[in-house]
Every structure is written in structure tokens, then in C-alpha cells.
Amino acid sequence: MLFKKRFSPKDEERLSHLIQLKRQEKPDEAFWLRFDEELRSKQLAAIVRSQSWYQRVGKLFILIARKSAAATATASILAFGIFTISETDYFAGKQPTTSPNQKEPVHPTDDDASAIDQPIFVVDDLHSQAEANEVDFSYGIDATPSYEINALTKKSIPVNYQIIAEPKQFTAGHINSGTDLGAKVIGTWNHF
């Protein structure tokens, strides 16, 4: 035991008086004036620092935007341009579609072969006056071409269709033969 000896109550009282002398260690008025000034400035700094994180992030964003307005605009235009180009058929890796009346033939590539499942041949009636499913034989052999045959894929029917063969035009006489160019005519476009 460190302290074996007991002190009397008088000693304890004297010790208390002794310790309480430390109460007299006090700073002067000049100290408190300086203290108040320093504390005030620290308090103001604390007010600025105590803004919430989202306020600070917002302010930072605005600051950056102001400092780099030109760069931001350029980057935005570039980003828009890249986005627009990437959305085109070529960059998106899509096959271009054609309208039913498109004359430009598109030949299938090897890659497309799997997508072409049993092509359907469609006869387009070039005579607008004729009924779609009726063949008008009145034009005769020497008449101008009356029909156009296109080969279509099943996938594209009926919204768009993909021409995979050279369109051929026939007169009414040809259509009567039933087959031509190795394709069997199974109906007209209007059947779809």
C-alpha cells in the first residue's frame, strides 16, 4: 500500500485549502479579449465548414462548371455527336431495311444465310388499278411488265421485308406458267 499513514481531518482541510489555491491561477482581462477574438474567427470558420456535404458538392459543381464552361460545352457536343452516330444502323450493327417498293436489290451475305429461312416469293402488282389477288390478262404478251417478284424472309413480314433476290418483272403470260427462275409464286403482296 502506497499510503499507509492516515491524515487527520485538519490535514485534509489544509490540503483542500492548498489545492484550492489553484483557483487563483487565472488569466487576466487581456487574455479574455484575445480569447474572444480568436474564438470568434474560429466560430466563423466553423460556420462555413459546417455546411452540409450536398451544399458543398453543389457549390463545387457550380464552381467547376463556371471555370470550364467552354470545355463542358465542347464535351457535351462531342458526346451528343458520338451518341447520334452510334445510333445509326451502320454503327449499331443493324441491317438496313427497305421499303416494299425499293428497286435496289440487296444480296444476302454468308452471315445472313442463317437468318433466311425458307424465302417467300411475293408478287407485287404493278398495276394500281388491278385488284390485288386478280391477275389481269388483258395486257397480253407484249404489254409492259405487270408483276414484280421479290424474295422475302419470314422474319420481316409483314412490316418490312428484306429483298434477297433480284426483283424480276413479268407480264401476265409469265405468271401463268406458275414457276419462274426456280421460284414458285405463292401469292401477291396483298395476301400478307
Binding site: F3, H17, E38
Partner: protein
Amino acid sequence: MSIIKTITKPLVSSPERRLEADEDLYIVRKIQSGDVDAFDSLIFKYRERVYSVIYNLTSNREDASDLTQETFIKAFQSINRFKGKSSFFTWLYRISLNTSLSHLRKNKLRRFFSFEKMVEEDHTEGFIENLRTESDSDKAALMTELQERLNDAFQKLSIKHRTVITLFEIDGLSHKEIADIVGASIGTVRSRLYYAKQFLQGELKDYIR
């Protein structure tokens, strides 16, 4: 268990403190509702007491000044989190203690003292005069010597014991109030106080007998 970790229990105030706490709470509510300047009145009211506690824990006037300011800044920054479960006084003391203890632990190896000037007060004049007669020394020299011996003895105490003796003997708080502030039981406070007094009696025996 460290004091820092245990200073979380709510305070049950004495009647005197409760009245004071009500006044403080009114000011705190004003600050919380946007009247930032009202905090100045709390600074003015408690700055000397907070400074005194920190000074007696550190025995360094520059550190005490900085830590007192830090205490008030921390209190100001977290005033919106003060819910009134304890009195503002206790809450502020806890902040000041935690700030001081953190500082003392960080600077264990870098310790030097710088004392405030002792201002003689009327009620201690008789006590000082007795000591001077017994030691047959110059009053100013005795005061300087006493201050050094007192601070030296204080710094030899552990932080826990120094905290308790400072709050009890110098700040004049009750056992209950100290227990609430340091987050310990009243029994623990009494025990620490007893040990601290015994130690100081041994260190300062030349001035006691």
C-alpha cells in the same frame, strides 16, 4: 474503461443545476432556431470554468486556451444535436474533458508546463500568511514555489484522478455531478477522490503539517 468511452450517461441534475440548466436550455433552443449570436452568452458564462478545468488538467496555459476554444467550437458545431437529456453545463464539460483527454493522450511525450499568474484573493490570504510564517520565506517566492509544487503533484496523478480532484476541489462540483460528467458511479468518484487526496497529501506534506 476509458473515460472518453464512458462519458455518455445522462445527467440527473441537482436542484441548483436544474435551474441553471433550464436557463441554458432556453438559450440553446434560441441557437437551434437560428439565433447564432445567443451562443455568445453561453461562452461568456462558461468560458472561465471550462478554461479552469482544462488548465488544471494540462498545466499549460496556451494548450488550455486552444482546448477551451476547441471545446466551444465543438459545442457550437453540434448544438443542433443537443437534445436536453443532460444539462448544457454537463454536456459542455463532457466535451471539454474529452477534448482535453484526447489532447493529453496525443501529447504524452511532449509535456511542458506554463502557468497562469496566481492572483491572490482575500479568502486565502490568511492561509498563505500562515504558510509564510512557518516557512519563513518571501511571500512571492512562496507563491511561486507552491504553484510549481501543486502543478507538479497534479501532473503526477493519472488523468482519471486528476479529473476528479479538479472537478471536486477546484470547480466545486458534487460527487453526483462529477459521476454524471465522467460517466462513473458515485462510489467510483469517491474512491478516485480518496486516492487522489492521499497521493497529494504525500506529495505536499511539507505544506500540510
